[in-house]
């Protein structure tokens, strides 16, 4: 749509307001980053000033104290495996429910959706007690728990997408001699790619950042980034230069991910919320 000059001119104040708001939104990140480079005295003198000298040592110390590579590895493993498991099993379940629209399927779908209403804190105490007795308070147990908590929304999203894929696709594959399993994975699953991206992104945001559940299930030895950050912060609250350097390290992987997959992330989140 082309705009007249008058219309363009009317947008100038809005443009300026937008940029001012945008800068305001970024100030917390700016303050975290600049102060992470200062000496304790530098922070004491002024938090608003730029660092006099850049103290890279803060990051070296934080990197070591956070055991950063190990925490990063733990976070990547827990998040990655959980998401793979959630995608595989939720898409299969949604397929079974969508292709067999019986009263039982409707009831099961209702149970999955209703389970989304139960807040985590309402099941956390018996959950940790049961899994403790089963000796499953570890990474594998945590991944299984994420499957339980995340499958409902994933099934709901996959179920919606499957309704728009014609059944004739299935039948054609069966005639070609594929069994149910092959047909699902080679014919149907590839068609679900957009919703798979949405499910993956929603769960990356949830699992990567989750603190409470890992804090109950994992020990410090297997800590993910948020968990390690909590211990680290407890030790260094009075030394903001180190605490902030640690926070910068914790934020960094997320920002990198955001810049790589920005478009998919915003679309995925919007899709997940609106449906």
């Amino acid at each position: 749509m082309s705009m007249s000059k008058a219309e363009k001119r009317r947008l100038v104040p809005l443009e300026i307001a937008g940029i001012v708001l945008g800068i305001l939104w970024l100030i917390p990140f700016y303050l975290m980053l600049t102060n992470a480079f200062k000496t304790p005295d530098g922070i004491f003198e002024s938090v608003m000033a730029l660092p006099g000298t850049f103290v890279w040592q803060n990051f070296v110390t934080a990197f070591q104290e956070l055991d950063f590579l190990k925490s990063l590895f733990n976070s990547v493993m827990i998040t990655g495996v959980s998401i793979a498991v959630i995608i595989i099993f939720s898409s299969m379940a949604a397929y079974a429910l969508a292709r067999n629209p019986s009263r039982l399927s409707t009831t099961l779908l209702f149970v999955f959706v209703a389970a989304m209403l139960i807040p985590f804190q309402s099941v956390m105490i018996p959950l940790t007690s049961i899994f403790g007795q089963l000796n499953m308070m570890n990474g594998a147990g945590l991944i299984f728990m994420y499957l339980g908590f995340s499958s409902s929304l994933a099934i709901f999203l996959y179920h919606g997408a499957l309704k728009s894929i014609p059944k004739s696709m299935d039948e054609a594959a069966i005639i070609d001699g594929a069994n149910r399993f092959q047909m699902f994975w080679f014919v149907i699953f590839p068609l679900l790619k957009p919703i798979t991206v949405t499910v993956a992104i929603l769960n990356v945001i949830f699992i990567w950042n989750d603190y409470l559940l890992p804090s109950l299930v994992l020990g410090e030895a297997n800590a993910t980034i948020p968990l390690k950050m909590f211990y680290f912060f407890g030790q260094y609250t009075t030394q903001w230069h180190l605490a902030l350097a640690g926070l910068v390290l914790a934020v960094l992987p997320v920002i990198i991910f955001y810049f790589i997959a920005q478009k998919q992330i915003i679309e995925g989140v919007s899709e997940g919320a609106v449906k």
Partner: protein
């Protein structure tokens, strides 16, 4: 694939087992435990409604309830105002539209725990320095009183989630046909008129979605509460979720904490259902 075929059950088995073991069994088991004196290991007697009776008389729990309710109301209002405002701003044909969307949405991707620590630095150190420089008494001593703790949590949540609500409003704004807006312009409707009689009714479903999301996030907030105020001063900014976690894992009062967890479930579910019911009815009426 029908109810009796093996394939049907094989496809469903993993998620049914996981949902059962992780959500449904603990939920029902927890409900039962709340009527006992379970200490995390063993049960010596059934106590009937004793846990529930004492939690209604528990000042700490009541305080957490009111604090959480006020917090949820404040964030629902602020987030919807900011979210809609930002959405209206970035859907105009500004040169910076895409960049602004990216910026406003960014805090959502970072965990509440980490954001709470960042804002702790801002409220305590930055606010006091700016307050001294500009001679504003109100900027001193943030997070050391209940009121500043409350507003600290509200500001943090508004900053974190406005971009998320913005994305939801954008999705609905873009589904409004452009001709409708054009037609109203030709009919001589002003910007306010247009907003009131076209955008507002058509955005009703967006209100449903974002109020539901903001209310339930507000009620279930934990991470930000832990890292920003840690419930202090004197547990006065402790929200419901944190009260349950502490009663269970710090005070080790398991059955009592589970009673609180059951009440928490009832509150959160009632709000969610009332919200959906009310908004659905309004959407139809309009």
């Amino acid at each position: 694939m029908n109810d009796r075929s093996l394939a049907y059950w094989l496809f469903l088995a993993p998620v049914l087992i996981a949902l059962g073991a992780v959500v449904i069994v603990p939920f029902l088991y927890g409900f039962g435990l709340s009527f006992t004196n379970w200490n995390g290991v063993s049960i010596s007697s059934f106590v009937g409604l004793e846990n529930y009776i004492s939690l209604f008389q528990d000042g700490e729990f009541r305080n957490a309830f009111w604090f959480t309710l006020l917090f949820a109301v404040a964030t629902v209002i602020l987030l919807n105002v900011f979210g809609l405002g930002l959405a209206l701003l970035v859907t105009r044909s500004l040169k910076s539209s895409n960049l602004l969307r990216t910026v406003f949405f960014m805090p959502n991707l970072i965990g509440g725990l980490i954001l709470g620590f960042i804002w702790q630095f801002i409220f305590v150190n930055v606010f006091s320095e700016v307050g001294t420089a500009l001679n504003i008494e109100a900027m001193q001593g943030w997070l050391s009183t209940t009121a500043t703790g409350f507003w600290g949590l509200v500001i943090l949540t508004a900053w974190q989630m406005s971009g998320y609500i913005m994305v939801i409003y954008i999705a609905y704004l873009q589904s409004i046909p452009g001709d409708l807006i054009e037609a109203s312009k030709i009919d001589g409707a002003g910007a306010f008129e247009r907003f009131k009689s076209i955008l507002f009714p058509l955005l009703a479903p967006a209100f449903t979605v974002s109020m539901f999301l903001t209310l339930s996030t507000g009620f279930k907030l934990y991470d930000q509460n832990l890292s920003l105020t840690n419930g202090g001063p004197f547990d006065s900014t402790q929200m419901l979720a944190m009260d349950i976690v502490r009663t269970a894992f710090v005070e080790n009062d398991m059955a009592y904490a589970q009673g609180k967890a059951v009440i928490f479930f009832i509150i959160v579910t009632a709000i969610a259902l009332a919200q959906v019911y009310y908004n659905k009815r309004r959407e139809v009426e309009m």
